[in-house]
């Protein structure tokens, strides 16, 4: 699903965020990306979302070389990837329903099909009763779940998440991770950047550790510990 070949990314300031990174993530995997701040986690996700381009090397997503995706084709490319963010990036002046519907509206889907899929996505994150509320009326954990519903509403094959539990307490964090694991069970490939080591180990999934832009450790999945999933 994701293949990085000798990928380097140097920002104009001169610091090298990623250097000579090789990485392969298979279809259907759920992978955690960890490391200190500045280790290159966000840069890696930005390369996958085509927010940044690599300085050297190749990034191949779902068989497609991202270098060949022109600026004009970026929106169509992004529509195939679900994205969840630490600050969830919801539109505060629109209801939960409208927020989740955004990717489908952008894709030009019909009204009825949109409503059906949006309700299904909101239901999956357990917020069906709150679809008419504005994000500010929700708790932080609920807001994050709305963000996740928006990421999965267009049924992407790949979902990337940047510190999705960064602002949550341990209990809510576990809840969010379990939600991700359920999507993984139905075949979605997930790449989740997080520094919540304890939680990651509890999930027992593959773990990629970055250090100063290089691969430091790549441990195989061990299976979930008691309490997860």
């Amino acid at each position: 699903m994701i293949r990085l070949e000798r990928v380097s990314k140097r920002y104009p300031g001169g610091s090298e965020a990623l250097s000579e990174l090789n990485l392969t993530i298979e279809k259907g995997e759920m992978v955690f990306l960890t490391g200190h701040s500045g280790a290159g986690k966000s840069t890696l996700l930005k390369l996958l979302a085509l927010i940044e381009r690599p300085t050297r090397g190749q990034v191949i997503v779902n068989g497609q070389n991202t270098a060949k995706v022109s600026r004009r084709r970026i929106p169509a490319y992004r529509r195939k990837i679900g994205m969840a963010f630490q600050d969830h990036k919801l539109l505060l002046d629109r209801t939960v329903f409208d927020n989740v519907a955004l990717p489908l509206v952008i894709a030009g889907m019909g009204r009825r099909e949109t409503a059906r899929r949006v309700r299904a996505a909101i239901d999956q994150v357990g917020l069906l009763s709150k679809e008419k509320l504005l994000p500010m009326a929700l708790s932080t954990g609920e807001q994050q779940r709305v963000g996740i519903a928006r990421a999965v509403v267009s049924k992407p094959d790949l979902l990337i998440a940047d510190e999705p539990t960064g602002n949550l307490d341990p209990e809510l964090s576990l809840e969010i991770m379990n939600l991700f694991a359920r999507f993984n069970e139905v075949g979605v490939t997930l790449l989740i950047a997080s520094h919540n080591i304890e939680l990651i180990q509890r999930m027992g999934k593959r773990q990629i550790v970055l250090h100063e832009g290089r691969l430091q450790d790549d441990s195989e999945a061990t299976g979930p510990l008691h309490g997860a999933v």
Partner: protein, 322 residues
């Protein structure tokens, strides 16, 4: 990707897609209007500025039109005296008058024979007894030519005079042309000035709309970045701003028409009073339906264009972050 079908849905035919496309545009169009109505004061300010900018060239244009209509009235009272050469017979004068009568640009030709002229002179001048001493009538036959009202431009007027001078039997063409020339030259200048002013003000409208849309875009930066993150194309993001610009332009056009008609209405009474004192039934022209339509169209096009320029310039730079 294999699992996720095309979001538009594979089973929708081409008519359905076209319908969906039109529906989305209609939604955007109405959505933009709704958005502007939610900020009535700010929208009204923008629309007013555009309206005033558009009403100026429209008002000037109307002034020129009125000047033309007025001078057209004067034109019909102008007469040219065409003096024929001495020795041209009265019959020849009549034939020439008939020939000229058929020409374009000439309304009417009357002949004043030498005898008639002498008679008039005898009565009018008080030199009656002195004229008795003359054995011959020294006066030539004269054709009084009245140009038609539609040959209003300065160029056409002089051209006709030149043509008359070319005729073999004509000695002199006399017309108090100086003031007509001046007036027409002034009208021509004003008309050109109106064209230039229109161009400058059109540019102004572009900038006003562009700047308003630019601020609008900056205010909604967060929303735009989120939309880009979830895969919105530039065209999708640009569309509501374009419709905003379109509405600004149309609103400005409507206001401009209203302003011009209002000014016309307020001036109608005093103008016809002045005209009445001069014994004229001259009435102030107001904007015709097609002119008003053109003004609206100009507003709409400028609004659309201004927002397109602003949106294209600023949306490109606005790349998302996380």
């Amino acid at each position: 990707m294999a699992r996720s079908r095309s979001p538009r849905g594979g089973k929708i035919g081409i008519p359905g897609r076209v319908l969906g496309y039109l529906l989305r545009h209609a939604q955007n169009l109405l959505g933009a209007l709704g958005g502007l109505c939610r900020q009535p004061l700010a929208s009204l300010m923008t629309v007013s500025v555009i309206g005033i900018a558009l009403s100026m060239p429209a008002g000037l244009h109307l002034m020129v039109e009125n000047g033309r209509a007025l001078s057209g009235g004067w034109e019909s009272t102008l007469e040219w005296s065409v003096y024929l050469k001495p020795g041209v017979s009265e019959r020849r004068a009549q034939t020439l008058a008939n020939e000229l009568q058929g020409r374009p640009g000439i309304e009417k030709v009357t002949v004043i024979t030498a005898d008639q002229a002498l008679e008039e002179f005898r009565i009018g001048s008080g030199f009656g007894e002195a004229l008795e001493l003359l054995t011959d009538n020294p006066l030539p036959h004269v054709l009084v030519v009245q140009p038609s009202a539609d040959s209003e431009s300065a160029g056409q007027t002089t051209q006709l005079a030149d043509e008359l001078k070319q005729l073999g039997d004509v000695d002199l063409v006399q017309l108090d042309t100086a003031w007509v020339h001046r007036f027409h030259a002034i009208l021509d200048t004003v008309r050109r000035a109106v064209t230039l002013a229109s161009a400058v003000l059109a540019l102004g409208v572009l900038l006003i709309v562009g700047n308003t849309i630019r601020l609008d875009i900056l205010n909604r930066r967060q929303e735009i970045e989120v939309a880009k993150l979830v895969g919105a194309s530039d065209a999708f993001i640009r569309r509501p701003f374009l419709y905003n610009g379109l509405w600004y332009g149309i609103g400005g056009g409507i206001l401009a028409v209203a302003v011009v008609q209002m000014v016309g209405f307020l001036l109608k009474e005093p103008v016809s009073r002045v005209a009445g004192l001069y014994g004229s039934d001259y009435r102030l022209l107001s904007l015709a339906a097609d002119e008003a339509g053109l003004l609206l169209l100009a507003g709409a096009v400028l609004g659309w264009l201004g927002s397109w320029i602003a949106a294209s310039r600023h949306l490109r730079d606005m790349d998302p972050e996380f």
